[in-house]
Symmetry: C2
Subunit: 338 residues, 2 copies
C-alpha cells in the first residue's frame, strides 16, 4: 500500500492531538507526518505514540506541494484561505471546519454511509460532531425502513467548544463548589451545574447554526433532501462525548428488535441496551471510544409502528472529528492511491 506524505494543520489543538493518536492507532500508511500550527507554536516538540518527537512548523511557511494529504483542524479564517491553496497544489485536504460543507461541489463524508461520493475532489469536508454521531445509526434506519422525520435533542459536552471549554468547566466547577464567583469566557453563560440551549449563532429561522448543521449535513450525507429533520442543541456540563435523544418516523413499519439486531452488526456502533442491568449510552462510557454507543431502543409512543426512539452517545472528538477524518483518509488511500 502506498505510504503518504501527511500534514496535520492545527496539530496542537484538541482535534489535532486526537488526529495524531488515531493515525497511529489505525496504523495509517504514512511515509512522513508533519505538524503545522500557528506561528506561536513553531518549534514546539510533540511526542508521537511511538516515542519519537515531531517539531511543529509554522502553517504560514508550508509548501503544500510537499504533502499528499492534509488534515485541517484549524479555525480563525485559515480554512477559507489555505484549504483551496493546498488543494490547488495537488494535496488532498480533509477539512474539519464548516467552511466547505454546504458547497455542492465538495463531498461531505461519513465513511460508513457515502464513501462513494468522494470522487476526485481535492477538498473533502468532515461533518459536524453532532451530525456524524447521529448519522451512523440513522443511516441504518434510512436504508432499511426509510426516514420521514427525525427529531433530535442533544446533550453536548464542553469539549465541543475546544479544550478550553473543558478547562472552563473544571475551573469554574471548582469555584462554584468553593462558594466563589463563577465566571464564563468560553461559554455565553456559566456552565457549571447549568445547561445552555444555545450553541453557535442564531439563524433567521430562530434555530442555531449548530442545529441547522444537523439538518443540512444529514440531508447532504444521505443524499436526500426530503428527510424532515429538527434539532435542539444544548450545552451541558460534561467533559467529553455528546449524547442525543432521537425520535424518528419511518416510511415502512420498524421493529425495535430487528433494528437492534441490525445495529449490532453495524460497523461503528456499540449497542448498549441492556436495561435490566442498567446498561445504556452515557458520556462516561462513550468517551475515548471509536464506536458510537446506541441504546434505549424502543417503539415510539407518537409514531407507533412507524416510529422508533433511541439514545446515542459518541465521542465528539473521535467519531465527531478526528476518527471520521482518518476514516475518510483511509477511503482516499483506497480509492485514489491504489
Amino acid at each position: 500500500m502506498k505510504k503518504l506524505k501527511v500534514g496535520i494543520f492545527g496539530a496542537t489543538g484538541m482535534v489535532g492531538q486526537e488526529l495524531i493518536k488515531v493515525l497511529y492507532k489505525r496504523k495509517f500508511s504514512m511515509k512522513k507526518l508533519r505538524l503545522f500550527a500557528s506561528s506561536r507554536s513553531k518549534g514546539k516538540q510533540i511526542k508521537m505514540p511511538d516515542g519519537k518527537s515531531i517539531t511543529v512548523e509554522d502553517v504560514a511557511e508550508v509548501n503544500y506541494k510537499e504533502l499528499e494529504l492534509a488534515f485541517f483542524a484549524i479555525g480563525g479564517g485559515w480554512p477559507e484561505e489555505q484549504v483551496p491553496k493546498a488543494a490547488e497544489a495537488g494535496c488532498i485536504v480533509i477539512d474539519n471546519s464548516s467552511t466547505f460543507r454546504y458547497n455542492d461541489n465538495i463531498p461531505l463524508i461519513v465513511p460508513e454511509i457515502n464513501p462513494n461520493t468522494i470522487g476526485d475532489s481535492n477538498i473533502i469536508a468532515n461533518p459536524n460532531c453532532t451530525t456524524a454521531i447521529a448519522a451512523v445509526p440513522l443511516y441504518q434506519i434510512y436504508k432499511h425502513y426509510g426516514l420521514k422525520k427525525v427529531i433530535i435533542s442533544t446533550y453536548q459536552a464542553t469539549s465541543g467548544a475546544g479544550s478550553q471549554g473543558m478547562v472552563e468547566l473544571e475551573e469554574q466547577s471548582r469555584n462554584y463548589l468553593a462558594g466563589k464567583k463563577v465566571e464564563n469566557k468560553i461559554f455565553i453563560h456559566p456552565i457549571p451545574f447549568n445547561i445552555i440551549p444555545h450553541i453557535d449563532k442564531f439563524q433567521e429561522n430562530n434555530y442555531t447554526k449548530e442545529e441547522m448543521k444537523v439538518v443540512w449535513e444529514t440531508q447532504k450525507i444521505f443524499g436526500d433532501k426530503n428527510i424532515q429533520i429538527s434539532c435542539t442543541c444544548v450545552r451541558i456540563p460534561t467533559m467529553r462525548a455528546h449524547a442525543e435523544s432521537i425520535v424518528v418516523e419511518t416510511k415502512k413499519p420498524i421493529n425495535p428488535e430487528e433494528i437492534r439486531e441490525i445495529f449490532q452488526h453495524t460497523q461503528g456502533i456499540e449497542v448498549k441496551d441492556d436495561i435490566e442491568n442498567n446498561v445504556y449510552p452515557m458520556p462516561v462510557t462513550a468517551s475515548k471510544k471509536f464506536n458510537v454507543e446506541v441504546g434505549r431502543i424502543r417503539r415510539s409512543m407518537v409514531f407507533g409502528e412507524y416510529g422508533l426512539e433511541f439514545f446515542v452517545c459518541g465521542d465528539q472528538i473521535l467519531k465527531g472529528a478526528a476518527l471520521n477524518a482518518v476514516q475518510i483518509a483511509e477511503q482516499v488511500l483506497k480509492q485514489r492511491f491504489k
Copy 2:
C-alpha cells in the same frame, strides 16, 4: 376567609421545607400549621419564615381529626397507608406521591388547567415534576390549537432525587475534581460530569416509569387520552430546575409569534425568549422561581405550520411539587371552605 388547620407530612424533607416557605410566601390562610415526620425527627424545632419555631411531631401519633388540610410529601409506603386514613377522618389530603395519581376516582390537578375537577374528593394528587412543568405551556397550545403529538426530552436536576441527590452531585464532583474515586449511592451511575438516561423503574414497554408518568398524567390532567405523548427522561449534573426540549404537532396551524404572545399573558409562565440578547430558559435562572421559564419558541422543522418547538425550565421542587400543591390548596380553600 376561613383559616385552616394544616399539617405537612414529611416536613423535614426537601419538598416539606419548600411547602413551609411557599405557604408563608403566598400567605395561605392557616389557623395552625403542624409538622409531621418520621419518629427520628420527633421533637426537632423548625424555624418558620416569621421567626417562630414549630416542633416536629411523629407521624405515627397523629390524630387526623385535628386537621382540615394535609400535605403529604413523604415516601416509603406512608401514602398508601396514611392518606386514606386521613381522608376518612375528614381531612383533605394533597398527596405528592404517585400512589393515587392514576386512580380514576382521584383528581390530579394543575390549578392553571383543571381546577374544576377537584370536586369533593378528600384525596387530591399532585403531579410529577416533569409533567407539571411542561403542562402549563402545553395546555395553552392544547386550548388554542389542539394537540396531536408531544415529544419531550428532559434535562433533570439531581434534586429531583431529593436533597441527597444534590449532596451526592456536590460531594462527588469534588472527588472528581480532586482526582479521587467517584462513588454513587443515590444515582445508579456516577453523576458528576455524566448523564443517565434512566429515572425510576423500567416498564414492560422499555420506557421508564418517569417517562410514562408524563404520558399518563398529561392525558389525565388535560382530560384527553387522544394526545400522543412520548418522553425520554435524562438525569443531568445540575442542582435544581428541570429543563425540557419539547416538539409538538398541533391540530390547527400554530403561529410562533401568536403563541409567544399567549404565553406572555399566561399565569405561571415567564417568557424568556430574546435570542438576540442570549436570553432563554436555563436552570440557573429558573431555580427558586415560581414561574416556569419558556423560550426558544420557533416553528417546527418537521411539523411545519402545524408544529412548534420550545424549551422550558422550571423549578421542580416548586412548580414541580410544593408550589403546585399549595396552589391546589388555594383552590380547595376557595371551592370547599367558602
